[in-house]
């Protein structure tokens, strides 16, 4: 930056600005990640401690049907939550972006979202329990009380509820800088509304759609709290397995292998997301990440 600055002075400035935060990341992000990786090759000792021998045995255990079922469930929650978020969130983002009081609408979108995560999940427990409001309404319609909680349905509903704004915000960011002239051009060229939307509007929102999908999919797959409270043991996701291994079961080595698996899965989906975005030629320009919105 400063031509007059000597190399030493520059190095000093880098050390002062990047040093503390960089050191923190090395110590508390990189080191723990490496520890998980190492632990995943170790073995649970008789008192729940980590010992040798080293090996791939923890990874071999992942292939057991019980665990495969948990992966399948997690994947299902992740995919369905993403699809439902798209269904609810995509049109909403358009409505907000084109509304004269969009600041207020965004504020109202974020308010429930910033209410404590646990309270949001708990609220669904209250609504879906046997004497809850949903069953009271169903009863009034003569549909008798349903066993809505604990269930897969309850887990999915609360997951969508919890992560919906993660979807809306990036899509909103895309819609806000949409070039509407392309839509007019499509109409001028005689396109019908659906065709015009598919060719002139939808592609412009791909970056937001992709970002929103990743931001919903990852936490939806990785959380253990929602399934713990609303599935009450009947819905077991990878996150729940990890929590069990580090809790009651106290098999940290196997828990670490599950964590590495989950992390690998997340990184792989991020990689695919980046590739997909790059291929469509949308990887350039402003990123649709929520950091831009702040």
């Amino acid at each position: 930056m400063n031509e007059a600055a000597t190399p030493w002075r520059r190095a000093f400035r880098v050390l002062v600005t990047v040093g503390p935060g960089g050191l923190w990341l090395l110590l508390f992000v990189l080191l723990p990640t490496l520890l998980v990786l190492v632990a995943s090759f170790l073995t649970r000792g008789p008192y729940g401690e980590l010992t040798g021998p080293l090996g791939l045995h923890n990874y071999a255990r992942l292939l057991h049907p019980v665990y495969l079922e948990a992966f399948a469930q997690s994947l299902l929650v992740g995919v369905l939550a993403t699809l439902l978020s798209a269904l609810l969130g995509y049109p909403l983002a358009f409505y907000i972006a084109r509304h004269p009081r969009r600041d207020l609408l965004l504020f109202l979108l974020l308010l429930p979202f910033l209410t404590n995560f646990l309270i949001r999940v708990y609220a669904w427990l209250v609504l879906l329990q046997r004497e809850g409001l949903v069953n009271a309404l169903l009863g009034a319609l003569g549909l008798g009380p349903l066993a809505l909680y604990p269930s897969f349905f309850a887990v999915l509903l609360a997951t969508v509820y919890t992560f919906l704004p993660f979807f809306v915000l990036p899509v909103y960011a895309s819609v806000e800088r949409l070039d509407w002239q392309l839509l007019e051009a499509a109409y001028d060229l005689g396109a019908r509304p659906l065709r015009a939307f598919l060719h002139a509007v939808l592609p412009q929102t791909y970056p937001g759609l992709f970002a929103g999908s990743v931001l919903v999919f990852i936490p939806a797959m990785g959380t253990f709290v929602v399934a713990d409270l609303l599935g009450a043991g009947r819905v077991v996701l990878i996150g729940n397995l990890i929590q069990q291994q580090f809790g009651i079961t106290r098999d940290w080595a196997f828990g670490a292998a599950l964590s590495v698996f989950l992390m690998g899965f997340v990184l792989l989906s991020l990689y695919l997301y980046a590739r997909l975005q790059g291929e469509r030629g949308l990887g350039h320009g402003r990123s649709p990440y929520p950091e831009d919105l702040l």
């Binding site: 930056m1 609810l88 909403l92 504020f107 910033l114 646990l118 309270i119 209250v126 253990f224 702040l294």
Partner: protein, 259 residues
């Protein structure tokens, strides 16, 4: 089409607010169970305030949130300045590290910190799981978010402003203190507010890094909920909802002022 969109938006907002309204309403309900409103009462709030543990948990939550936000904001702001202004070896790697706490599920982050603290205790005899380790954990995810928010603000700034300050004879730290920081301020404030909210909201990382005596409100809510639905939790939740609304309104006011 417009009316269809409006109807859709109305239904989604209803979906977003229904659970919260039900919790708030039930916190004033005399009945212990179910949703039938049997009469207005403040008993649950009274019970909440008479429970000395709740005050302790509340204070724990605040101590963790404010201390961790303070440290994370300082570290994150400096890091963002360094990342935007300088080139140095390992910069690309550092940027990858920054994204780990953002993209990796909290469970994984929680257990990896637990492993770190367990190893540190084995080797160094320090630290015991406590409020202190919770604070370390919170700083870790906050630093990443603060850095990303401040960085995006710094990228919008005109570098000519800092050059002008230097041409006028300002030293490095003077430029930083009198030019860079004031210009980056909305980003720093937004980053700090985000960090504070993340800390107040966090359950998972706290769950894995908290030792005995380090209960925070989310941990308390979790254990109460595991024991069954309780009107006292409704009252507590309502107070927390009010508090988040206040913080969000504050952030909203701050962000509008910059425009």
């Amino acid at each position: 089409m417009r009316r269809l969109l409006a109807l859709h938006a109305l239904l989604v907002y209803f979906f977003l607010y229904l659970p919260i309204l039900v919790i708030v309403a039930l916190s004033f309900n005399q009945g212990r169970r179910g949703v039938r409103f049997t009469g207005f009462t403040l008993d649950w709030y009274r019970a909440l305030f008479q429970d000395p543990r709740v005050l302790e948990y509340f204070l724990n939550t605040l101590v963790v949130a404010f201390l961790s936000t303070l440290v994370a904001t300082a570290l994150g702001t400096l890091l963002a300045v360094g990342l935007v202004r300088y080139r140095f070896p390992g910069k690309g790697f550092l940027r990858y590290l920054l994204y780990i706490p953002v993209v990796v599920p909290d469970v994984v982050m929680g257990v990896s910190l637990l492993l770190l603290f367990a190893l540190a205790r084995e080797v160094l005899g320090f630290p015991r799981l406590s409020l202190f380790t919770v604070i370390l954990g919170h700083i870790t995810f906050q630093v990443a978010f603060v850095t990303l928010v401040v960085r995006s603000r710094l990228l919008l700034l005109d570098p000519a402003l800092e050059e002008a300050a230097r041409d006028l004879g300002a030293r490095g730290w003077q430029t930083f203190w009198h030019v860079t920081l004031p210009l980056a301020w909305p980003g720093v404030a937004a980053g700090a507010l985000l960090a504070l909210t993340l800390s107040l909201d966090d359950f998972v990382v706290t769950f894995f890094t908290a030792g005995p005596g380090a209960t925070t409100l989310p941990l308390y809510i979790y254990s109460s909920v595991k024991l069954g639905v309780s009107p006292k939790v409704h009252a507590l939740s309502t107070l927390i909802i009010a508090l988040s609304a206040f913080f969000l309104a504050l952030g909203y006011a701050l962000s509008r002022r910059r425009v």
